[in-house]
Amino acid sequence: MQFISYSFFILFPFVVLAYYLFPGKMRPAWLLAAGLFLHIWTEPQHAVRNLAVLLSIGAVMYGAGILLSRTAENSGESSGALPPEGEIRRKRKRILVCSLLYIIGSLVVWKYARMAFPASRSLTAPLGISFYALAAAGYVIDCYRDSSRVEKNPLYCFLFVSFFPLTLSGPIERGRNLIPQFAEPVPFSADRTCEGLSMMLWGFFLKLVLADRMALLVDPVYAAPDAFGGALVLLSIFFYALEIYCDFYGYSCIARGASLILGIRVMENFECPYFSSSIALFWRRWHMSLSSWFRDYIYIPLGGSRRGAAVKYRNILIVFAVSGLWHGTGLTFLIWGLLHGIFQIVEACLMPTRHKLNDMSGILEKSLSHRLLKVIFTFCLTAFAWVFFRAPGLKDVCRIFRGLLHPALYRLTDGTLSGLGLDMPNMVLLLFGLAILIMADSFKFRGFCMRRKIMSQGQWMRWLIYIGGVVLIAVCGIWGAGYSASSFIYSQF
């Protein structure tokens, strides 16, 4: 369900309360029931379809795991890194292929095939399918590789695909991480709850105070760049890069925090991506659950970087093309993905030359100035690529870039920003918030968790920060009347 909704604030505490009131053995069942209920609640008009797809994928995932484990038992082989040969191997492969055909096929059909038929274009894809389908596929592949224990209890498999904090927008978890946690629920912990709540607080701050505030400028400019002039278009391009980060990172924080309150530790999804000094590094820090999924289940099976440069570059292009298509059905998403692939290829190709040039000119690559330059350059590249991601179509991309040609600097001070809702107090708040984000990320980059630092402070300071944070989000957050419904960007995927 949407985190930014009244029902979440009412239902989530109830779910948590009931979870800890139930005995340990009943808790996974309660989570499953809650997850399915919330799935229905979020989109009641498509409830039957959504549940059918979700449960069928869960069933296929469970069934595939059981069948794979039975073939392994029958073979008498112990689990190892290499699959068994001969008939067993072929059988296991058939199970894998069929289950993946169904799981990934469902994803492809619901996301892409419907676009081929005009009558079905108005249909939306089942809620969260892009995320739980990949999670289910990853589990099946892990079972096939014997890198994950097969789960015999169907309850945990269904819970894995329907775990409500993660359903809509991830992180795309691994079965071997989540399922054992479902099987062994932990008792209530005030400290863990506090940590979870502080994560959620940070997430709501990123989403409601920063991301949605930047959207006040980005949305109208992207809709009509010609009307705003180059200065505002450029500002919107950079704002969007920050907006999507705050939005998605914010969602992930809320999801992780909610999970932590329930005693479930979910993987980190972002690791200061805009502090990256190259596109390759960026993708090791951005949407890590997805990029690691692509790495483990597409890039490495294709050969990774072990078969020479040409194969490596081919694999990069394939992975990022798929990534682009996973994000959306339009050509712009494909271009966006390919751009990132091309950037990495160019980076890799030019690396020896860059090193040589730096050596010749005496530039210290590890110096702060040089790293800062690379970080800024990488940020600009990603911001440029995000234009393709955000614009509705190629024509709109051209309009955006064409809009840059006419600076219209006066638009920054003629009241246009104010008219969009970004008056002086809002701009100051936004810049202040971004400064806090940069500070938090720079701490994180150096290995310090600001959240934990706060939690280790005295009670009065912690309370001041938490209460101040809640009030700030409630008062200054972009929600309610006058603003469009705050749905997370990545939930549309």
């Binding site: 400290d191 940590e195 690691s292 280790s456 409630a474 309610g480 009347a481």
Partner: protein
């Protein structure tokens, strides 16, 4: 990142640098108290944020209602639109008759809103009489958020805002929820009315000192919900007056809700009275009012339609805009209403303890008039305020002045001069189109000068026009036929409008308020005095 099978029962304690836990207070009970305290502080902070950001209009107007209602001090409740807000003064009804009334008008209120405001208000008060304004009874729609014929989106957005003004001061109770559910179709929009923080939190960027003060203040204006207008905002166009027999043929939603309001009062044993505050009423509004009159007659409910009360107000001079009374018009109307209510056996609370708010409102009104009478930028507003009996005045209009060609100003001057109510004809011969108003006795040639001397409410004003007999014989004028000006008036000797004993007037410029040389380009000169003490309050020129 991928997690492991680590023992999730392991509690990860947050440690400070010295290795000691710095979490919550030690011990379960202390910890629970600490958690409880945290949530209480959080709730308090959020409550303060809600109060800080909410729009104060409703609370500013009606914050005092709840105190007075719960103390049982309100005998007459007034509900309706801005017509009653501007047009009915509880202070005047109290001053003249001791009637303790409260004005719970809401700007832009349609009868649909008025009904629910009344119903919510009756949760707190049981008055003896309710005065129900009938303005906007032409509103023929149910849901405020659904555009309809003659109800476009723009109007809808205004009305929704007015609904906030009226309903926000009420705490969230059953009647408030019922009101919102009845008048708002969109379920998301309803939430804004249940919890107005949803709408108003975005006001944080435009908060001012008033918002901060409101945290400490319960609110409430000094006029018990009324908002008299001490200046003229625009001039009114007068529609022809239709006979009472000309009325709408079908009931509108507005009229249906008026009926519901009447039924509500009768159920509760409260005496309802329908009222129509006088204003420049369009023909459609008049037809709707006339239908309301028929319905009231059928039900045996009084309908005090003040449009038809002769000599109550002057439509040309007692309105501050097309549809609202000025402070003076409201003063007169309130006195009239008070006289009608007095026949209902309303108790006289003057001098009683507990009614300080009404006493203060009387003083506040007087003070405001006093402050405003010499502080207006336009002549219309000043002329309106000069009507109050607390002031004496000398008004001189120079020949050729533009206001001698202005219908509205001439009407005001006619009132001030004590001319029988009616329009002043200009030499172009404009004819009054209100058949119930008799012809004016006085005609002006706009080339003439005009002098009006108001020497207190007990005396008939002196008025001299042009070079009529006595014009140049006043002690205040000198000059020739071509250069006639108010020459001299000394405050030092001034206690009433009389000559000095020796029949002369001082010539010293220091004492000469109206030096010809400094004011030759002035169109209008007005001197204002306190009627009781004779104190000179100020000079206003235009």
């Amino acid at each position: 990142m991928t997690g492991s099978g680590q023992d999730m029962n392991e509690q990860k304690e947050i440690k400070t640098d010295n290795g000691k836990t710095n979490g919550f207070l030690q011990g379960k009970t202390a910890r629970r108290i600490s958690i409880l305290l945290f949530w209480c502080l959080l709730a308090l902070a959020l409550f303060a944020a809600v109060r800080l950001t909410e729009r104060k209009d409703g609370r500013r107007m009606h914050g005092s209602f709840f105190q007075e209602a719960q103390a049982g001090r309100i005998d007459v409740l007034i509900v309706g639109s801005s017509h009653v807000i501007n047009g009915i003064l509880p202070s005047k009804m109290y001053e003249d008759y001791g009637i303790a009334s409260y004005n719970f008008g809401v700007r832009g209120s349609r009868p649909q809103i008025t009904y629910w405001i009344l119903k919510n208000a009756l949760d707190y008060v049981k008055p003896k009489v309710v005065l129900i304004d009938t303005y906007y009874c032409t509103a023929d729609y149910h849901y405020l958020d659904v555009p309809a014929e003659n109800y476009d989106e723009e109007e809808s957005s205004f009305v929704l805002s007015y609904f906030h003004d009226g309903i926000d001061p009420f705490p969230l109770r059953k009647n408030k929820i019922d009101a919102v559910r009845d008048l708002i179709q969109d379920k998301d929009l309803r939430k804004e009315y249940y919890f107005d923080f949803i709408k108003y939190h975005s006001r944080w960027s435009s908060l001012d000192g008033g918002d901060v003060l409101a945290l400490m203040n319960r609110g409430g204006n000094m006029y018990l919900g009324a908002d008299p207008v001490f200046k003229i905002n625009s001039l009114a166009y007068n529609y022809p007056l239709l006979p009472p027999t000309e009325k709408l043929t079908e009931k509108t939603e507005g009229i249906i809700y008026l009926e519901k309001a009447l039924d509500l009062c009768l159920e509760r044993g409260i005496r309802p009275v329908l009222i129509q505050v006088p204003y420049s009423e369009s023909e459609d509004d008049q037809r709707a009012s006339n239908l309301v009159g028929s319905i009231a007659e059928e039900k045996g409910i009084p309908f005090w339609n003040m449009q038809y009360v002769p000599d109550l107000i002057n439509h040309d001079s007692d309105l501050c805009s097309q549809t609202h009374l000025s402070a003076y018009g409201a003063w007169k109307v309130s006195h009239y209403l008070g006289s009608l209510l007095a026949t209902y056996g309303m108790p006289d609370h003057r001098g009683e303890p507990g009614y300080e708010r009404w006493e203060n409102s009387v003083s506040a009104f007087r003070d405001e008039v006093r402050m405003s009478v010499t502080d207006q930028r336009d002549v219309y507003s000043t002329l309106m305020l000069l009507q109050f009996p607390e002031y004496r005045s000398v008004i001189y209009v120079n020949h050729g002045a533009w206001i001698l060609n202005d219908r509205f100003a001439l009407a005001q001057l006619a009132d001030l001069a004590g001319v029988r109510r009616g329009r002043l004809y200009m030499d172009s011969g404009q004819v009054s189109d209100r058949q119930d108003i008799p012809d004016s006795e006085w005609q002006l040639d706009y080339q003439d000068s005009l002098l009006i001397v108001r020497d207190g409410p007990q005396q008939k004003p002196l008025a001299f026009l042009g070079f009529t007999e006595g014009f140049l014989d006043t002690p205040f004028l000198t000059g020739t036929e071509n250069e006639t000006m108010l020459h001299y008036l000394s405050t030092r000797n001034w206690s009433s409008l009389e000559m000095e004993e020796n029949g002369t007037v001082p010539e010293e410029k220091a004492e000469n308020l109206l030096s010809y040389y400094e004011r030759s380009n002035v169109d209008v000169q007005i001197l204002v005095f306190d009627n009781e003490t004779g104190e000179f309050l100020g000079e206003v020129t235009y």
